[in-house]
């Protein structure tokens, strides 16, 4: 039963991303062409509220339901991995029109050719795992 709440969050997330059209290849293309505010509004308002509430969580030392302090792990320092990995990810994002969340969600919407993208993403992750120690981070 402890997984039920995560299942419900996932369902909610899937619904929001479909209803927002953020899972749409077309919306991603439109975003990268700067031809509509839609995606910028979604990401911008999410980040604005995210910054505000994470700050409030920390300021008032809100505990998680597990009773622990809320501490989002800081990301490792570095530049190369973020700019290089980010750029490679960006190529794929603009081509597939889907990042990892939407990939799963789109399977649910009935686009089964997305399984090919997911399988290739797993292969990409596997390849990263093999090369990790040889890449600049």
């Amino acid at each position: 039963m402890k997984f039920l709440k995560f299942l419900l969050v996932g369902i909610f997330f899937g619904i929001v991303l479909v209803k927002s059209e953020a899972v749409s290849w077309y919306r991603i293309y439109e975003m990268f062409k700067f031809q509509a505010f839609h995606m910028y509004g979604i990401i911008g308002s999410a980040v604005f509220l995210g910054v505000l509430f994470i700050w409030l969580f920390k300021k008032y030392r809100i505990k998680s339901i597990e009773g622990k302090d809320i501490d989002l792990l800081p990301k490792d320092k570095g530049v190369a991995r973020y700019i290089l990995g980010g750029t490679i990810f960006g190529f794929g994002w603009a081509l597939a029109g889907a990042c990892p969340g939407p990939m799963y969600i789109l399977v649910g919407t009935g686009v089964f050719s997305m399984f090919i993208v997911i399988a290739a993403a797993l292969l990409g992750t596997f390849t990263y795992g093999l090369l990790q120690k040889k890449l600049p981070h």
Binding site: F3, L7, V9, G10, F12, F13, V16, L17, V18, K19, Y26, Y29, F32, Q35, A36, H38, M39, G41, I43, S45, A46, V47, F48, L49, I54, I65, E66, I70, L72, K75, R81, Y82, I83, G85, G86, T87, I88, G90, G92, W93, A94, L95, A96, G97, P100, Y104, I105, G108, T109, G110, V111, S113, I116, A120, A121, G124, T125, Y128, G129, Q132
Partner: protein, 187 residues
């Protein structure tokens, strides 16, 4: 009910995505979809080949459950919560896409020119999906996160690495959209 069935505006969707992130943080977890790719590789035995996959994947079951929910959510949203209205893309986008050979832009979530089986089962079609997926899977783990982990959670937590990653997302996305997509699809 009409408001639910119609596409949701950004000022509803964006705050709800923040809510998803905040709920997961409140549950003592974090919002990161691409970690599941690493977890799935671990489950499949990739730990035999690299330390990167030697992790306790059972500790990540909560996140796989979120994925399962997300798939169900996608099904529910399209089957029961949609009125089938087309995506209100900008006129410029529709005309730019027409030049690239994409017709009826916005009438479906994804372009049949890329995702229909007819196209997928051609050499070019399958190459597009495999290369795109590979780049996403490789890039996101190299960068240590994707849109959810860096653009939403990392930026919300004022992480400089996440800002650098998001800049990278846009560098790659803009090069692909402005220079490479026309080479792939333009005639």
């Amino acid at each position: 009910m009409d408001y639910i069935l119609q596409p949701w505006p950004w000022y509803v969707s964006g705050p709800l995505i923040a809510l998803v992130m905040l709920i997961l943080v409140y549950f003592g977890k974090t919002f990161g979809m691409s970690s599941n790719l690493q977890t799935l590789c671990s489950m499949g035995g990739a730990g035999k080949f690299s330390d990167y996959f030697r992790l306790d994947w059972k500790a990540q079951r909560w996140n796989l459950t979120v994925v399962l929910g997300a798939i169900l959510g996608g099904f529910i949203a399209t089957q029961y919560l949609s009125d089938g209205s087309a995506i209100a893309l900008s006129a410029e986008t529709i005309s730019d896409l027409k030049e690239l050979g994409f017709n009826n832009a916005g009438e479906t979530l994804l372009p049949p020119e890329i995702y229909s089986w007819e196209n997928v089962l051609s050499l070019k079609g399958i190459a597009i999906l495999v290369i795109a997926g590979f780049l996403v899977g490789f890039g996101t783990r190299y960068a240590g996160g994707c849109t959810s982990g860096h653009a939403i959670t990392g930026l919300s937590n004022l992480q400089l690495p996440s800002l650098i990653a998001v800049i990278g997302f846009f560098v790659g996305g803009l090069i692909m959209t402005f220079f490479i997509l026309p080479l792939i699809f333009g005639s």
